[in-house]
C-alpha cells in the first residue's frame, strides 16, 4: 500500500509521499475546503464519489492515524462549532505539508489524464 510508505524524516518533500492510496487522497481532498470530524469526512467522500467509495469506520481511522503520524493532517485543539456539535468528536485539519502532498497527487493524476487523452485513450477535451 503506497500510503504506508514512510518518507524519510529528513526528506519531507511532497513527492516522496506519491502515489497516494485512494482512501488517503479522498480524505485529504475532503479536508481541503474545511476542517471536519471523522463522520463528516466519511459522508463527504461518499457524496463526492456518488457512493462508490464507502470508507468503513475502521479503515477511516486507520488512514487518519497514519496521516497524523506522517504529519499530513493534524487534530484541532478546539471544535469549530461547539454549539451545534457532540463534544466527543475530534476535528482534523490539513497541514501545509498535507496540502502540498494532495496538490502534488492531483497534479500527478492530471498528467496521467493528459497522457491518456494525448494517446487517444480518452476523448480530447473540446
Amino acid at each position: 500500500m503506497s500510503a504506508s510508505r514512510r518518507p524519510r524524516p529528513d526528506d519531507p518533500s511532497p513527492e516522496s509521499f506519491l502515489p497516494l492510496h485512494k482512501d488517503t487522497f479522498h480524505i485529504l481532498v475532503s479536508l481541503a475546503d474545511r476542517d471536519r470530524h471523522g463522520y463528516s469526512v466519511m459522508q463527504d467522500v461518499a457524496e463526492r464519489t456518488s457512493g462508490t467509495l464507502r470508507l468503513s469506520p475502521s479503515s477511516l481511522y486507520a488512514s487518519i492515524r497514519r496521516l497524523l503520524e506522517q504529519g499530513l493532517i493534524e487534530e484541532l485543539a478546539e471544535r469549530p462549532d461547539p454549539a451545534h456539535d457532540d463534544e466527543r468528536r475530534r476535528y482534523y485539519r490539513l497541514t501545509g505539508l498535507g496540502r502540498e502532498v494532495a496538490i502534488a497527487e492531483a497534479r500527478r493524476l492530471e498528467r496521467l489524464l493528459a497522457d491518456a487523452r494525448a494517446t487517444g485513450l480518452l476523448p480530447k477535451r473540446s
Binding site: 471523522g38 463522520y39 466519511m42 468503513s56 475502521s58 479503515s59 481511522y61 486507520a62 487518519i64 492515524r65
Partner: protein, 893 residues
C-alpha cells in the same frame, strides 16, 4: 440501536490497546452515526456488516504495525547499547546453542525413524526371559518361525560386516559395509528398487547358491557414478563374486544407524563372504556354512505387523513354543524344564532401527540435555539481571514516557519485544553453533575420523521447532520480570528522585538471580569433576593386561586365499618373522583381539563338579590363542600352567580359564584337572589366569576360557605383539614384515592397546568434554553475573564509600566489605546448590566409574573453585570501591 453499537464496541477489543484507547470512541461514534442515518433494515444490516468486516480486516494489521514499531524501537535502543546487546546475545546464543546441539544429536540418534513407509508397524522380536537383546535365532529356527506370518517377518544378520570389495577388476580392495538379509527383508520394510529389483525369498534357498547383491543408492552414485548399466555388473566381496541385481531406492541406508549399509546379500551367502560375527554356537561347526545349522544363532527377526503387535506375537509364540517343547524334553531337571517352557517371544518397536550408539548414549544424552538446560537457565538468570539493571537505569526515560501518556501495557510490550529481539538474534546464532557442534559430537560419539560421519545430525524441522520453543520460553523467562518491573515505575517518584535515583538494582531480585547462577554452576562443576575422576579411574583401573607395551594388529587370513589346513603354516611363519623383529619381545595370535569388539561365547556348558542351574545358564566367553599369548599381552598365571607348544592336535584337549570362571563355577578354588565342554566335558582345565577386562574397560570380567589355536580350527584375527619399548615404534616394521610373509594378507588395523582403551572410553570422554564445556560456560556466566552486579552496586554506592573513607575508614576495609558481599552471594548459591547436587546425584550414577555421585572431595573442590571465582569476580569492583576519591565522590553527590 443500542445493541448493535454495544456489540461493535465489544468487537473493537480486537484492536491493540493503544489504538483502541486513542480512536475506539471515535470509531464507535462514527458507526453509530452511520447506523442511525441508514434507512431501512437492509441498509442497516449493510452498515453493520461493512463495519464488522472493516474491524476484522484492520485489527490484525494494527497489531502487526504495532509489533514492527516495537521491533524498530527495540532495535534502535539496542543499537544505542551495543555492549549490553552483545553480551546478552552471546550468553543466550551459547545457552540456546548448547541445547540445540544436544537436541539435534538426540533427534538423530533417538527420535528419527527409519525412512520407510509406516515405520511404527515394524518390530524386532525378543526372547523373554532373556537379556535385553534382540532374539538371536538360527536359520532353521527362523525358517519355522516365518511360517507363522508369511511375508511379514524377515531375518537379518546380527551385525553389518565390513567386507573387502573389488569393483570392476580394481586392484585395490575397498572396505564396504554389507548386511546379510533374508529374501523378505525389502518386502517387510517396504523398500523398493530404484533400478533392477530387490532381493526375494527365491534368492535365499541354497547355501552358496545365490551370488546376487542389491546396492544402496549412495553406493550406486559414489562407486558406479549412477550408471544405468550397473545391473548385471560384477562385484567381488571378500573374494566371492556377486552380480548386482538392483539398487535400493534413494535415501534408504539400511536399518543400522551408525553403519549405513552399501550392499545387501542373501543370508545363504554367509559362508562365501566369510561372515562370522555376533553369533553363539553350540554343537556346531562354525567353519562351515551356517545356514543349515540349528546350533548357530546369528540372526535377528524383524516383523511388520500392520494390525498391531498382539496378534502376530501370539502367532509367533505358537510356533516358537512348539520348537521349545521339543528341546525341553532333553532337560532332565523338572524345575529347569518348567522355566525353559515359560519362555516366549515379545515384539519390541523397531521404528528407529538398530543402533548401538542409541543403546549406549540415550541415557547420557538425556543427562546432557538436562545439563544444557541448566546452562540455559544460568544464561537466563544472567540476562534477566542485565535487563533489570538496564530497566533501573532507564527508569527516568520510562517515567518520562509514562507521564507523557504512554500506556503501561504498551511499555511492557515494548520491553518484552526487546527481549524477543535479543533472543531471536541469539537463536539464529545458536543454530549456527548447533550445526557446527552437533557434527563434531556425532564424530566423537561414533569414534570416527572427522569428515566421515556415519549419519548426519541435521538441523531439521524438529530441531528448528525445538530451538524456537526454547528461545520463546527463554524470552518469557528472563524478559517478563524486568518488563513488569520497569512498567510499574511510579513516574512522579522516579522523576523527582532525579539522576541519582538508581534504586531497585540493589533489591533482592538481582541477588537471588546471582545466587541461583552460582547454585546451578555448582551442579555442573560437580558433574564435570565427577566425570574427570570417573574417566581417570577408568583409565587407571587394573585391566589385567599390559596396555603400555602391546601392539594389536587386526588381520583376516581368510581373505588371503588360504585353505583351512594351510593356515597353521601361515601362522607359524608370521609368528617366527614378527618374533625375530628387533624391539619385539613376544608375538602371539588370537581369534579375538583385546577390546576389539569381538566376542565369542558358548552356553549350555557342562562343567565337572559344577551343580548350578542348567538350561543355558553356565556360559563362558572364549578365545582361541597360540602359546605365548599370555606373555605377549601381560596376563599373569594364577594356578597351573599356561598353554604350551605341546597342546597340539591329537594331544589332550586343554583350556585355561580365568578367575571369574573359577569363582563362578568352581567355588573359588583352581579347578585344575576338571573337564568341561558343550555336548560333553571333553576339555581339561590346565591353568587359571588373572581376570582381564578384554571386552569392556568398565565392566566386570566374565567367565572366560582360552583354547589352543592348534586344537581348534578357528581363524586368527588378531596378532598381539609385545614391544620392549613404545609399541608405536615397531608398527611400520610389523606392517612390512607381514607384507613380506604374505602380501595378500589384509591388515585391517594396527593400534596399541592403550589406544583401544581410550576408544573403549569414548562415551566417558565425550561426556567429560561436554560437561567440562558446560561447566566452564556456567562458571564464566556466574563470574560475569557476580562481576556485573558488584560493579553496579559499587557505582551506585560511590557516595557512601566516599563518606566512609572521608570519615577515616581504611581502603582495605572498604575493599573487604565489597569482596565479602561477593563471597556471601557465592556461599548463598552454594547453600542452594548443594541440595540440588545431592538430589540430582542419581542421574549421574549410571555414567560414573569408581566414584560415587555424592563424592565429598569432588563437591568440596567444586565449591572451592566457585568461591575462588567469586573472589576473582569481586576483586575488581572491590578494588575500585577502595580507590574511591572521597572529595570527587562527595562533589558528584
Amino acid at each position: 440501536m443500542r445493541r448493535p453499537v454495544r456489540f461493535f464496541d465489544a468487537l473493537l477489543k480486537l484492536y491493540p490497546v493503544d489504538f483502541r484507547d486513542e480512536y475506539g470512541r471515535e470509531i464507535v461514534l462514527v458507526f453509530a452515526d452511520r447506523y442511525r442515518d441508514a434507512t431501512g433494515p437492509l441498509a442497516r444490516a449493510g452498515v453493520w456488516f461493512e463495519a464488522v468486516l472493516g474491524v476484522l480486516r484492520h485489527a490484525p494489521k494494527e497489531h502487526v504495525r504495532m509489533f514492527w514499531q516495537d521491533v524498530r524501537y527495540a532495535a534502535r535502543s539496542l543499537r544505542a547499547n551495543p555492549l549490553f546487546a552483545g553480551m546478552v546475545v552471546l550468553a543466550l546464543a551459547l545457552g540456546i546453542g548448547a541445547n540445540s546441539a544436544i537436541f539435534s544429536v538426540v533427534n538423530a540418534v533417538v527420535l528419527r525413524t527409519l525412512p520407510v513407509p509406516d515405520p511404527g508397524q515394524l518390530y524386532l522380536v525378543r526372547e523373554q526371559p532373556g537379556p535385553n537383546q534382540p532374539y538371536r535365532v538360527s536359520w532353521p529356527a527362523f525358517d519355522r518361525l516365518r511360517l507363522a506370518a508369511p511375508g511379514q517377518v524377515a531375518a537379518i544378520s546380527r551385525a553389518v560386516a565390513t567386507l573387502h570389495a573389488r569393483i570392476g577388476g580394481a586392484a585395490q580392495a575397498e572396505p564396504i559395509p554389507a548386511h546379510l538379509v533374508s529374501g523378505e527383508f525389502f518386502g517387510v520394510l517396504g523398500v523398493s528398487a530404484a533400478r533392477g529389483r530387490v532381493l526375494t525369498p527365491d534368492d535365499n534357498r541354497t547355501p552358496g547358491g545365490h551370488p546376487v547383491a542389491v546396492i544402496s543408492y549412495g553406493c550406486w552414485q559414489r562407486r558406479f557414478g549412477g550408471s544405468p548399466e550397473v545391473i548385471g555388473k560384477e562385484i567381488s566381496l571378500n573374494g566371492a563374486r556377486f552380480s548386482i541385481v538392483g539398487v535400493a531406492r534413494e535415501g534408504f541406508p539400511g536399518v543400522w544407524l551408525e553403519s549405513p549399509t552399501e550392499v545387501w546379500l542373501p543370508l545363504a551367502m554367509q559362508h562365501d563372504v566369510h561372515y562370522s560375527q555376533n553369533y553363539s554356537a553350540s554343537n556346531s561347526r562354525t567353519t562351515e556354512a551356517w545356514m543349515p545349522q540349528a546350533g548357530i544363532e546369528w540372526l535377528c527377526v524383524v516383523a511388520r505387523a500392520p494390525a498391531g503387535a498382539a496378534p502376530m506375537q501370539a502367532a509367533l509364540n505358537l510356533t516358537y513354543q512348539q520348537g521349545r517343547a521339543e528341546r525341553a524334553a532333553l532337560i532332565a531337571d523338572p524345575e529347569a524344564r518348567r522355566r525353559f517352557l515359560q519362555g516366549k517371544v515379545v515384539m519390541d518397536p523397531f521404528a528407529h532401527g538398530i543402533s548401538r550408539l542409541r543403546e549406549r548414549f540415550t541415557e547420557p544424552l538425556y543427562l546432557l540435555m538436562a545439563m544444557a538446560g541448566l546452562v540455559l537457565l544460568i544464561a537466563c538468570a544472567n540476562t534477566a539481571n542485565l535487563l533489570l539493571a538496564r530497566a533501573t537505569a532507564r527508569q527516568r526515560e520510562i517515567a518520562l514516557r509514562l507521564s507523557l501518556g504512554a500506556g503501561r501495557i504498551r511499555l511492557f510490550r515494548q520491553l518484552l519485544t526487546e527481549g524477543l529481539l535479543l533472543v531471536s538474534i541469539a537463536a539464529v546464532a545458536a543454530l549456527a553453533i548447533a550445526r557446527w557442534t552437533a557434527g563434531a559430537l556425532v564424530h566423537m560419539a561414533a569414534s570416527t575420523p572427522r569428515g566421515s560421519a556415519p549419519f548426519a545430525a541435521e538441523i531439521d524441522w524438529r530441531v528448528l521447532a525445538f530451538t524456537a520453543g526454547v528461545a520463546l520460553a527463554t524470552a518469557l523467562l528472563f524478559g517478563v520480570a524486568p518488563a513488569i518491573r520497569a512498567a510499574r515505575v511510579d513516574p512522579a517518584a522516579a522523576l523527582k528522585a532525579g539522576a541519582r535515583s538508581i534504586s531497585g538494582a540493589s533489591g533482592r531480585m538481582p541477588r537471588i538471580l546471582v545466587a541461583m547462577q552460582v547454585a546451578l554452576s555448582l551442579v555442573l562443576v560437580v558433574g564435570a569433576g565427577l566425570l574427570v575422576r570417573s574417566v581417570r579411574n577408568a583409565l587407571e583401573t587394573p585391566l589385567g593386561f599390559d596396555r603400555e607395551h602391546v601392539l594389536s594388529v587386526a588381520i583376516d587370513p581368510r581373505l588371503a586365499g588360504y585353505r583351512a589346513e594351510q593356515l597353521p603354516l601361515l601362522y607359524d611363519r608370521l609368528l617366527e618373522r614378527i618374533g625375530a623383529l628387533p624391539g619385539v619381545q613376544k608375538a602371539a595370535l588370537a581369534a579375538c583381539g583385546i577390546l576389539a569388539g569381538c566376542r565369542s561365547a558358548e552356553d549350555n556348558l557342562i562343567i565337572e563338579g559344577y551343580e548350578g542351574p542348567r538350561g543355558g545358564e553356565a556360559f563362558v566367553v572364549n578365545n582361541v590363542v597360540t602359546p605365548g599369548y599370555f606373555e605377549a599381552v601381560g596376563m599373569r598365571l594364577r594356578a597351573g600352567r599356561l598353554l604350551e607348544e605341546r597342546d597340539r592336535k591329537g594331544a589332550l584337549l586343554v583350556g585355561v580359564v580365568n578367575e571369574a570362571f573359577m569363582r563362578r563355577y568352581a567355588g573359588g578354588a583352581p579347578p585344575l584337572g576338571r573337564k568341561f565342554g558343550q555336548s560333553a566335558a571333553d576339555r581339561e582345565i590346565v591353568g587359571v589366569v588373572e581376570d582381564a577386562r578384554v571386552q569392556d574397560v568398565k565392566n566386570e570380567p566374565q567367565p572366560m576360557a582360552y583354547f589352543p589355536l592348534q586344537q581348534r580350527g578357528a581363524t586368527a584375527r588378531s596378532m598381539e605383539i609385545r614391544a620392549e619399548g613404545d609399541p608405536r615404534q615397531i608398527a611400520s616394521a610389523v606392517r612390512r614384515a607381514i607384507a613380506e610373509v604374505e602380501p595378500r594378507l589384509p591388515i585391517e588395523g594396527v593400534v596399541t592397546l592403550s589406544e583401544r582403551v581410550r576408544t573403549n572410553l569414548t562415551q566417558d570422554r565425550l561426556l567429560l568434554s561436554l560437561f567440562s564445556a558446560f561447566g566452564g560456560l556456567a562458571l564464566g556466566l556466574a563470574a560475569f553475573g557476580l562481576f556485573g552486579l558488584l560493579s553496579y552496586t559499587v557505582a551506585r554506592r560511590r557516595g557512601e564509600f566516599g563518606i566512609r573513607m572521608a570519615l577515616g575508614e581504611p581502603a582495605s576495609s572498604v575493599l573487604w566489605s565489597v569482596l565479602r558481599e561477593s563471597l556471601l552471594l557465592a556461599c548463598a548459591g552454594l547453600a542452594i546448590g548443594l541440595p540440588l547436587v545431592i538430589a540430582g546425584a542419581g542421574w549421574m550414577r549410571s555414567v560414573l566409574f569408581g566414584v560415587g555421585p555424592r563424592d565429598a572431595a569432588t563437591i568440596l573442590t567444586a565449591a572451592g573453585v566457585l568461591l575462588a571465582i567469586a573472589a576473582v569476580a569481586g576483586w575488581w569492583p572491590a578494588w575500585r570501591a577502595s580507590r574511591t576519591d572521597p572529595l570527587a565522590a562527595l562533589r558528584s553527590e
